[in-house]
Structure formats: C-alpha cells, structure tokens
C-alpha cells in the first residue's frame, strides 16, 4: 500500500483490534502503538519491497 493512502489511526485498525483480541489482555498504549506501527510498516515497506 502506498504511504499516502494511509491514515494514521484509521488504516488497519481492524487488524490492530484483531491483534488485541489475540493477546486476551488489556494492553498499554505504548505496546499497542508499537504493534500498530509494525502493522503499518508491513503494509508500506513490504509492499514497496515487493514492487
């Protein structure tokens, strides 16, 4: 995905919720932010590498 199509806090929020569900515990916002950045990186960086 192109970075310009990403809206921080909106894009891939469903995937973040999915990850949260899989942890089974409430998470601190710091670790959630790290996980979210990781998700966005996967969307953008890996996509770029594939291109």
């Amino acid at each position: 995905m192109e970075a310009k199509l990403i809206t921080y806090g909106e894009t891939a929020l469903d995937k973040l919720a999915q990850w949260l569900r899989s942890t089974g515990q409430p998470q601190d916002i710091t670790s959630v932010t790290e996980q979210y950045l990781d998700l966005l990186r996967q969307l953008v960086v890996e996509d770029e590498n594939n291109d």
Binding site: A3, T7, G9, L20, P26, V32, T33, L40, E48
Partner: protein, 659 residues
C-alpha cells in the same frame, strides 16, 4: 415513430415492391404478437416460425419463402435486427418500428461512486460515511465526517503531504526542477532527519522582502515525501524507520494520536481507559444490576473504593485468573461511562466514587470560591518552590510547609507547584479531582483528602484535613506530607513538642468574628507565623468578608493595612506601615496569598510604596474619602481610646469584646 399525440406511425419499408410487402406483413405479425409490450421492448420471432406460418397461408414453397423473408428483412435494417442462433435466425423489432439494444447505465452505481476518484477511502472506512446503526429514537447527533470529505468540501485546509489532484500536477510539473525542499529531503540522512531543521531551513529559504499578499497567493510547494512517509498531526513520520527508532523520536505524539483515533473510531472496535486499550468485542457485559450492586456497596462502605476491592468483594475474582485483567478493564470502562460514578483515582489506584457519599472537606468554602481564591497560583505567583525544588520533592517524596491561618481553619492546602510535584497526575483527561488517604501515624488515624486540580484560570487545592489541623495543630506549625508505596496513600507528620499555651487567633463562627483564646498546643511552630495576641493583637479587628468577596485581593489588602498596619499619619491624612512578613500572615487569615502575589499587588498600585529604610516594608497612603470623614469624627466620640477599624466598604463594623 411516435407522434406527439401518442399514435405510432408505421415505418417505411425499403426494397423492391415484393420485399416491402413481405416486410410490412412480417412487421404487422410481430406487432400483433407484442401488442401488450412496451413501445420500445424487443419483439422476437424466428425465421422458421414465420416460414411455417406464411407458407401455409400463401401455399408456397417454404425454402423459397425463407430466402424471400431473409432478403426482405435485410433490406430493412432500420426496422429489423437479425441474429443468428444455432441453426435458425431470429428477427427483432419493436412496436415503435425500430429496435435499439438496451444498454444498462452503471456509471452511478454506489460501489462505483465510492471508488471515484481513485479510492478515496479504504473499505473499512465506509463506516465514517454511512452510519451502521439506527437509533431507537430520532436524535440529532454529531456525525463524524472523514478528513477526506472535509478537505473536499473545503472545510479544513489540506494538510501538507496529503495528495490532491493539484498537488499531483505540481509534483509532476516540478519533477524536472527540484525545489529547495526536495533537495533538503534528499540531502538529509535517513535516520538523522530532523523536521525542525527542515522547518528552520525552509523558513530561512523564504525571501524576506516578499509582499505579504503575494506570499499568501504563492502556495508553498509540497514537500516531496518518500513512498514510506506518513503525516501524523502535522509531523512527517517515515515508516521505513525501525519501530524502536520511531517510538524513541515520536512516541508521545504517536500514542496520543492513536488514542484520539481510537476514541473517534465510529465502529468502536477498540476502547480505552486511561493508558489501557482493549477490544470492544472482548468486554465483559455488566448490566444495570451490576451497577446497582457496585453503587450500593460503595455507599455501604462509605468511601470511594478501588476497582480491585469491588471485584474481590462483589465478584470474587482472583487476580490469578486468566481473565482477571480483562474483567478489571471492563469494570473500569463500564463505570467510566456511567454518570452515577466518578473516577477519583490515579494510575495504580483506580478509585470509584458514587453519588450519595459524604462530601470530603469543608462545606464552608464552595468549590467555585476556592478555585478563585487560588487562581493566583495559575497566574504565575506561586513561590512554593523557592525553598524546595520540584526535582528535590520528586526525589525525596516529601514536602514541608508552614500552616497559615486559612489553611488551618478550613483544612485546605493550595495545590501549588510543590504539591503538584508530590502528588501523581490525574489519570483521565476529563478528571477533575482525585481522592487520597492521608495517614497520620503519630495518632494512628487517617483522613480522606480530595485534590481538586486547576482548571483554566482557577487554581487547585487539597481539602479534607480540617479536623486534623484543628485538633492537633495551630497556625504556624510545620507539617510534612510524604508519599508511600501506594500511589493514593500519603503520610502527614509534624514535629511534636512540649505543651505550650498561648492566646491564639481563632474564628468564632457563631459570632462570625475573630478572637484570641487560650490554646494549648503540642507541635513545633514558626514563631514568626504563630498568630498570638502579643504580636498580632489587631487581627481580631479584621473583618470576615463573605467568602465570595475575598477574591477581591486589592480590597482585602486595603483593609489589612488599615487594620493591622501601624498608623503613622493622622486621621485626616492616614499613612499605614507594615512589614511584608506580617502582611503575609495577616492576609492569609482571610484567604491564601503567596508573598510574590502580595508583592505584585503592592507594586501595581501607587497608593502602596516601599519603605526604603526597612527591607520588605511598605507604606499605604489611602485616598481621602470626604464622605467618610464625618463618620470617623462620630467614631471618635464613641470609641474613646480604642482604635477601631475605619468604615468598611461593606458598611459593617466589628467590636471585639472576646476578652
């Protein structure tokens, strides 16, 4: 053809006479077949059917008739369409005399409109445009409109880096001529790129002598960002960086933006409480009965309760259970959304209060009044860190301070910088207060104290220590507040001493006046701030202004000078003198003051001026008030030697006969 009055005119047939006749006959047959069809609906008939029917009627050879029919149809392409299917031929016409294949217009389909122009929203963002729920009652509710549509409507400016059609054009135009910004970006090393530097350089690159209007018209060229950069609250974030690097550089910004986005999410997929987040689908459902039980239990105990206490006592959940933290989050989140419950805890001690609990602190001072009385703290006249730095307080975990009369009388401590450094910050953004337990190990007692944090221009304060102060301490006593391992528990200590007896200032509430009474106390005091009759005898004449009037600091200051200051002038030209330390003690009888706030009031009014011969002493030369002179002469007659305070603005006067 259809005429204006709705009559369908027969078509004109082409070909030779025989073909025209045959075509006309076929057309009439097909129109009869589709007599109930729409005018432009297709009427189909196969060649074999036509041959069979006409051959029987005309008694001619079917094969030659088939060739004749085909020739007649082909001679009239405007009337008939011809389709070959397998081993037969189908002729198509309509009642209007012509056939046009119908085309379906799909250009306005909803799914197509969502994707024009080029995929404005990812598919999971449909919810920001279309509501997924239908309210039971029709209510006018705010609708979140995505940034994309707001930008399209021109309601918000286009943020830098957001692609627009114009931007794409400008990018393509400027592709051959790199702008200063592009060179900046390209020259900056990937991991040391500092946006601040870029902004400074950008500002320096702008020509200075550009006309303001012109500079408005010339739009800033878009910064050409790499394919991995996104914009978060105006900050360019490069997703090519490692996550650790991103968190180290922009952690607080990213966390804040993500929390805000989670709260805005219309699907409410993730919910938050404080710094914790949890999927909405995993929340434990707590119903009305649960809420009622929790409320009843808090009321039964009679004080705010920890979430862990509620869970243990009402739900018998064990912290070792796998779902404990999830249940705890669910409870906190549910209670935070109920108006009957107030969160009064801090991080690490989540306390819940409910309506009906006893009020903590004095009822003699309203919260609105107290907020105004301590507003000077928020105006920059807080000198509480002069003797102890905030770092020292945070490190040592304790604060020492001398009690003033107002603090002692009402059990209130202004929430100044020293207390802010000692107490933990509130947990929720909309939280107004927190409740702490103050243990007094010297007397094996504990008190609940409420911290009201500053809001806007109003100051904060801590209340609830009225009973302890009045019972064990006197104004001028040195107290020490210390943190404990529990974030919501503090320890209050004072230095004990041999019993001392003195005539100290007290407030007689029944008579609503100040008086000196014999008091025995057992604590170490600062002699300069001990308000005894010997040093501060005149304070009994201080007028107890209504609490709402005490926010008028200038009015109080005049009155204190006239009451407590030394009268160096005469009745016609009064001149009062007082040392700042004494003024501080006297002023703090009526309301909280800091010395820096007193200095401000003294320096900004020309009626006050410093005594150059004595350090930190001030004169007050009031303006002559002719209308009061007559009153004062009358006073002289009745007062004999007593030096009563002059006429007050409120028109009231006091005579203290407590002795």
């Amino acid at each position: 053809m259809i005429s204006q009055d709705g009559v369908i005119a027969p078509p004109t047939f082409l070909g030779n006479e025989e073909q025209q006749q045959l075509a006309k006959e076929i057309f009439q047959l097909m129109v009869m077949q589709g007599a109930l069809f729409a005018v432009d609906a297709p009427i189909r008939q196969t060649r074999s059917n036509l041959v069979q029917f006409l051959a029987e009627q005309k008694q001619i050879d079917p094969e030659s008739l088939a060739a004749a029919i085909d020739a007649a149809i082909l001679a009239n392409p405007s009337v008939f369409a011809r389709e070959e299917i397998e081993d037969d031929v189908v002729y198509i016409t309509s009642r209007s005399g012509t056939y046009r294949p119908q085309t379906e217009d799909l250009s306005h389909m909803f799914k197509d409109r969502l994707y024009q122009p080029e995929k404005p929203l990812p598919i999971d963002d449909i919810s920001v445009v279309v509501s997924t729920t239908r309210p039971a009652l029709t209510t006018v509710e705010p609708v979140f409109i995505s940034d994309y549509w707001q930008i399209q409507a021109g309601l918000v400016p286009v943020p830098r880096g957001v692609p627009t059609e114009g931007a794409e054009e400008s990018e393509s135009i400027s592709a051959g001529q790199p702008s200063p910004e592009t060179s900046l970006v390209s020259e900056t090393p990937a991991f040391s790129a500092s946006v601040e530097e870029a902004v400074v350089a950008e500002a320096a690159a702008e020509p200075e002598a550009v006309d303001a209007q012109e500079s408005d018209l010339v739009a800033e060229p878009e910064v050409v960002r790499s394919a991995t950069e996104i914009v978060v609250d105006g900050q360019v974030i490069d997703l090519a960086w490692p996550v650790e690097q991103l968190m180290a550089s922009y952690g607080p910004l990213l966390e804040r933006a993500l929390l805000a986005a989670i709260d805005r999410d219309p699907l409410n997929q993730i919910v938050s409480f404080g710094r914790n987040v949890y999927p909405q689908a995993s929340l434990v459902n707590l119903g009305k009965n649960d809420l009622r039980r929790i409320r009843d239990y808090i009321l039964e105990v009679g004080e705010p309760l920890l979430d862990t206490t509620i869970i243990a006592d009402l739900y018998y959940h064990n912290p070792r259970q796998a779902d404990y933290e999830g249940f705890r989050f669910s409870l906190n989140y549910r209670l935070s959304r109920e108006k009957d419950f107030d969160f009064v805890g801090v991080e690490g001690a989540r306390l819940w209060s409910t309506k009906g609990l006893p009020i903590i602190g004095t009822k003699r001072v309203k919260a609105s009044e107290m907020g105004q009385l301590t507003s000077y703290l928020e105006e920059g006249f807080d000198d509480s860190l002069e003797s102890q730095s905030a770092e020292a307080i945070k490190e040592s975990g304790s604060v020492s301070r001398l009690l003033t009369f107002f603090e002692w009388e009402y059990g209130v401590l202004p929430f100044d910088e020293s207390l802010k450094a000692l107490f933990p910050p509130l947990m929720l953004p909309d939280q107004r207060s927190a409740i702490f337990r103050i243990d007094v190990p010297q007397h094996y007692t504990s008190y609940l104290a409420e911290v009201r944090v500053p809001t806007g221009s109003r100051g904060g304060w801590l209340q609830g220590l009225e009973d302890f102060f009045r019972e064990h301490l006197v104004p001028g006593a040195l107290i020490t507040l210390s943190r404990t391992e529990e974030p919501n528990v503090f320890v209050l200590q004072y230095e004990e001493a041999e019993s001392s007896e003195d005539r100290l200032l007290t407030l007689d509430e029944k008579k609503n006046k100040l008086a000196f009474t014999n008091v025995t106390y057992y604590c170490v005091v600062d002699e300069d701030q001990l308000i005894n009759q010997q040093r501060f005898g005149k304070l009994r004449n201080l007028k107890l202004f209504p609490m709402a009037d005490r926010r008028k600091a200038d009015l109080l200051l005049e009155h204190i000078f006239e009451t407590v200051g030394d009268q160096l002038g005469n009745r016609s030209e009064p001149l009062y003198w007082i040392k700042l330390d004494d003024l501080y003690v006297a002023a703090n009888v009526l309301r909280p003051f800091s010395k820096s706030y007193l200095r401000l009031l003294l320096n900004e009014d020309e009626r006050y001026y410093a005594d150059d011969s004595v350090a930190d002493a001030y004169f007050y030369k009031p303006e002559q008030k002719p209308e009061l002179l007559e009153e004062e002469s009358y006073e002289e007659e009745i007062d004999d030697e007593e030096d009563y305070p002059s006429m007050r603005r409120g028109g009231r006067r006091f005579r203290d006969d407590d002795e």
